[in-house]
Amino acid sequence: MIAFLANPQRFMALSAWATPLLGAIAVLLFAIGVPWALFVAPADYQQGESARIMFVHVPASWWALMIYAFMGVTSLVGLVWRHALADVAARAAAPIGATLAGLSLVTGSIWGAPTWGTWWEWDGRLTSMLVLFIVYLGYIALWAAIEDETKAARLAAILCLAGLVNLPIVHFSVTWWSTLHQPASVFRAGGPAIDRSMLWPLFVMALAYLALFGALLLCGMRAIIYRRRAQAAIARRARSA
């Protein structure tokens, strides 16, 4: 798979039609998921309508973690097998992951205001998530700071791997420390503790996020590759002179 995609030409050809396709799927899923979440799914019996923000918050939070894990894998591939495309993938994924982490923080705060009576709380989950967000920022900043792209890729990869230690902390923070934030209620031993009627729209939304991520990722990767080609053209002009 990776070996197949490692060839940029092949990747560009593939992504040329894969990108719009994923985009379309994302739109479709959102078209189903959003109304379902907002109108069909029952309001939470404790929290009322405000609980519906769950359908934004939870998937955003999940994918914020997953995308970082994805970056960890691609970084490793880039470091060990020197697949240029892996570096590109990690680089393109970072802003998306950062945005989702930010979204999780914001929606979480908004949700927290009515339910916990506070916008922000320095408990394990929230803090560790904030830390993840900052790690994202650091990763992006490092990429931006180093002019030599090949260097930047490998250095950023090292940083990304170091940052992986944070993921389990975020995930298990709710179980390790006593937090306001509720414990894992979907992916947990003994099946989900959320009612089916909320679970299905949640999954649809999660898939929609995934499709959107795929589309944006490919877009970003293509943009980076095009910029590289432009720079190569400049360098060639330098050589020919």
């Binding site: 916008w119 922000w120 320095w122 900043a141 700071a145």
Partner: protein, 217 residues
Amino acid sequence: MSALYAVFRRELALAWSAGGGAIAPVGFFLGATTLLPLAIGADHELLRKAGPPLVWVAAALAALMTLERLFQADLEDGSLEQLFLCAAPLELIVLAKGAALWLAVGVPLALAGAPAAIALQAPTALIPLTVASLAVGMAGFIGVGLVGAAVSAGVRRGGVLIALIVLPFFAPLLIFGAGVADEVQAGGPFFLLSGCALGAVGLGPILAAAALRIQAG
């Protein structure tokens, strides 16, 4: 005139090209503002009281760290001499450098003050004021920092030295700045802050220029 503009533009370009532009200082600022809550833990009362001061200390340190290499790099790579050979007075050149730094780092950082304030449980009503006062304060910090940077330009790993030199002068800015949050209606602290900042921006470049002339000799 065009000399000043050239310096200003170059400094802006450097600030944005290296260190990822504003991402890094802003990120550092947010990071630093999270440090204390991390250490304190979830004690609201404490946070609300210690919050504004902390935001200001973080801002001060962010200013410090961006300032550190400002003149040191110029001294090492020999571009400082170039600045002596231009028509504009060195004081104004230093001012231009500071202005560029303020635009590139100070302003974004002031804006980042909003989320930071929220994280530190500051009342939402105060946020615009916080941002405004941070923008003013950053100008003051940079004004003071210029002197520290110029004085310790020759020193390897001078960051800490700068800090040592300028922190005392940061104190008034910090106190008034943090005070702004306390008395909203009474603009007192804000005016005092602006006064200090103005003084720093006015005097800083003059002293810095003097120090730089010595550095070259």
